[in-house]
Symmetry: D2
Subunit: 346 residues, 4 copies
């Protein structure tokens, strides 16, 4: 039964594994101070044209988020997030556990806007309320949507005007940058936000996220903060090696491109069959609305997750592709869809 | 230049890598609910004869420590540790960052005693002081020493009498159990402590520690707590697979045995040359006391760390071996030692 | 200029001050273990018919809230609150600072319902989200409304069924119990909730809240937790004496009754002049909707706060009365209202 | 039975109570923004000759300590304290509960030294350990000793050189400044430390400490931080009024002088009887060493606390005087001592 459950079902891209194997018996320095980590950071620094950017490898997205937010806020300050933001919903209160409120705002398609941020600023007027100090966005978002350059510029503007830090969660930054509608480069992002991370776990690595600190004044003592939260890995080189494989050429981007392409094929097939979408497809996450009959049949043949039940008959599901999604898997899904017979399509 | 700097310089044992490779394209369930995780947990449960033990894979030691301690203590409760304990010294205040005081006591050779624990209990008499609720020990300790069965029984006894939880940090549990002087089994440990972890990072894995919860009443909601601290890995199967390779037979123990054997050869050579030790050698960490002249020469040929400067001429260094330490590396060190000429041996 | 800004503008009721004076040179035991604290607790225990209730005096409402919530929740658990709840809005993230998420739900007139609680329970389905474990309500609420007995019973029921703790913030419990529409007694509340507090600061004391723990299994170690948060006052007897004065007879209730009566007179006058209310008046907080013209004139003669601007012309203000509100103050407000001439009343 | 248990057994000085009474029906602004708070702050600012110092009234010492330390440290930073420091021993882990390690050093007579601070700095060398960022001292100390001007200058120097913040806990600053051996003024302290507090609770007030922030760059957002920890009192004027009474003339200092004088009389009588002291008497806390026989008799007639049992026969007790200690109380103690007959004096 082929799975479209998520983009972290398989191991790592073969080239990532090859480099792990070929360097296995090297004696590397611990805690990320090895040559592979350094080399891969250089690749990323060149890509974003920031030779002085600080980069740290951290094993997962949630722990990256909690390190960044707790490192940069004072106790009374909060982070502003879309209500669908990962930190607001799916991190078991990880941010609050470090002492900070996540102030969430309702959003359309998972994207924060300057207007929404302004509303939060207007509301938080005095010392009886938390003080907004950081804006958290994800790209691509939890709903698979992406920010355009002008949208990101507008958010960066309101942040700068109000001395808010802008943090971009790039767990799926690869698919965002490889989306057809995208007009941002990794360099643009590094110029517009204060700090962001490049997700490896969901794009070809066994594990690992590359936290990029773009602004000098935010760099201080991050290794202390990473260590304190338990994310300074003894074998940091295990992540360094993987990012070396992903960024020594354009592998990282090709993998994300593949994920998007597989999703696009599925989306086209769904549209041809007349299904509508909860959110217009854009990257590697698809949210088609299925009638109960179809849902039932699909579940017998494929793995995926339920996003939301709209009513008795209509359900939003989530289909996710990845660097590892096979043409065969996609073909079988498309074939399955073409054979479905039903009257009441959504 | 061969390195005896630590036991996390190399990657993973070949058999661990092989299983990662051969299962790379499987579509596994995320967040540690995959079959490899389940299978490897069964191996461990059988070994400790606790079919109901809960086991969780966590990427590193510090984060395991902070999860366990913050999961099981109420806000006003503290954990008692040897002054040399990893949580007291080398985790950048990770435990305090979750809100709990580490009450440390001076110890001999890194080992906690019932007497030391009793002193802490006697001192903490009322609500103006933190309340001792957990005892933290490591085995093997940060100084390479181990607990005998009678010592561990005595600590477990005082804990039980005083309703203290007993937590064993097993970052180097392999070398402890394979030490010549050891009379404990993994099963004994599981019977005597409330919760412990089996260290993979320092004994053959790329990363990963197996947290074992021995008591039923401590199990509740641990997956929430692991997630909240950012340690519920999306690709949890990456750790499951590695522990499968380590525990499907006795590989885990053989690797630790190798590390000890290599250390023993070095220790013997050092003793033959007349060097004394800060702590009597027992497992894979050696703490010889070297005169300045020797230290200087050694540093030109090998990597190791300085533990403590005793005086102008005497320095305690730390030499560490691991599953990956080669016979050649050890031979070269022994040969180097045999060629040293000096009058003022320690 | 008379102030209706809040119910903490004046000092303490004369009888409270008298007892402070007459006992001033007694040598009392510190940290709340004095005879005045004990005597006053006995008064309260009798009133609620719970001879074994634990009662602790704490200097303020926010610190009481953060102590209770952090004392009773494990790290991954959250508290459910109305969106208007004091802990959600006006405590500068005090609850989050202890590590816990406040999950808020939209409410009508500041009151939580079983339906709203059920929605939260349904949504929080697995370990990737925080776990609801406590329900927070205030009575009277931040909008001056109160819970009826049947409403509180219904909330207590859903809490019991789902093993949720029920905590009632009684900063204004006096005015709630003395409201005309009220059908609850203090004893009822003590039977229905797990833990609550009786607000002294806003009802006749210089400072102080009486935290009442109704359930035995929740009592353990609260003095540690109060001390840790800095709320175990050296001169705890200062609060004990005040509660003694308030509860040795029905002074506490009479003071709240006075506040309500003053509010009622104002509400009647406002209604007679044709003003509508944001929330129907019930206790000592009134939320009339005023046209801009009236607002402007009122502000020149009285102190009050702006609750919300509805549109160009309509503004919700908040008028608060207290035990100290004078008949003269109220008369002058009513007279002022009767002289206002305007066409566009809200 | 007269009590020398502590300096917080009685209420407030009559002049403090008088001002509370005479201003009781004023309608004051809440949260410390009233005229009494402002006036009393002006008195203090003049005294320390710092017209721009920020001053905040906070209800108790522990909560002041935890606010200051958590406000000014980043998560990975620690505070250095004498092992006898209040934050290290008697605050139930309040500092750790905000996330910070207290690194304690053994001290002589409760006083920290530059040497001890340097040792901590030398030891904490990298990101695997917490980072020292603040030094905490108390004056007078928990053992009744005081810092001389040259000692405080030396500590301020090492702090400045190492970018450590210097925080002085002044719970008993009154008795320190009025000690015979003292050569510091309040102005000196304000010039030498970065932040300190003036203790009201133990020197004439019902409750309240005045936190003084001497350095501009440390002032930002303190009202948020005070509110978040639950210490921004609704009736902040209750503290403002008391400090107004204490500082409108030299009452604060006279009260501390009285406490010292009463202690001096007792100390002299003890010395005349041949008793030795654990720490040489200096302020209002005395630590005489008593033989068991005397201890037993004394305990039948007076209240005091046991500091430490030295051996079978010798015990260190603590006798504390205050602004409220009566001549009669002291006379009775002296008379009692003069009647004791024993051979084995310590």
């Amino acid at each position: 039964m082929y799975s479209f459950m998520n983009d972290y079902s398989e191991g790592a891209h073969p080239r990532v594994l090859e480099l792990l194997l070929s360097s296995n018996y090297e004696q590397n320095i611990g805690y990320g101070e090895d040559i592979h980590s350094e080399r891969s950071k250089e690749y990323i620094r060149k890509l974003i044209k920031k030779p002085n950017a600080d980069i740290h490898y951290i094993p997962g997205g949630t722990i990256t988020n909690l390190i960044v937010i707790s490192a940069l806020l004072r106790p009374h300050q909060c982070v502003v997030s879309a209500d669908t933001g990962h930190i607001n919903v799916h991190e078991t209160g990880a941010i609050e556990a470090t002492g900070h409120k996540v102030v969430s705002v309702p959003t359309k398609e998972g994207k924060l806007t300057p207007q929404a941020i302004q509303t939060v600023l207007d509301y938080h007027s005095d010392e009886h309320m938390v003080q907004p100090k950081m804006v958290y966005i994800s790209n691509s978002t939890e709903l698979g949507t992406i920010y355009t350059k002008s949208e990101l510029v507008a958010i960066a503007d309101i942040c700068m005007k109000n001395q808010l830090l802008l943090y971009l969660d790039g767990a799926r930054i690869g698919t965002a940058l490889m989306a057809k509608e995208n007009d941002l480069t990794l360099e643009d992002i590094a110029n517009l936000v204060d700090i962001f991370y490049i997700g490896g776990t969901k794009n070809g690595a066994l594990l690992g996220e590359a936290l990029v600190i773009c602004k000098d004044y935010l760099k201080e003592d991050f290794r202390y903060l990473i260590k304190q939260r338990g994310a300074l890995m003894a074998k940091g080189f295990v992540m360094g090696i993987q990012f070396e494989a992903l960024f020594q050429d354009d592998l990282f981007f090709r993998l994300a491109g593949h994920a998007n392409k597989m999703a696009e094929r599925i989306a086209r097939a769904l549209k041809e069959k007349g299904y509508s979408f909860y959110v217009e497809p854009c990257t590697n996450q698809l949210f088609p609305i299925l009638p109960y009959h179809t849902l039932e049949q699909l579940a017998k043949n494929f793995n995926f997750s339920i996003q939301e039940k709209i009513n008795e008959d209509k359900t939003v599901i989530r289909l996710v592709t990845s660097w590892a999604t096979s043409q065969d898997g996609v073909d079988s899904l498309i074939e399955f869809l073409s054979n479905i017979k039903e009257n009441n399509r959504s």
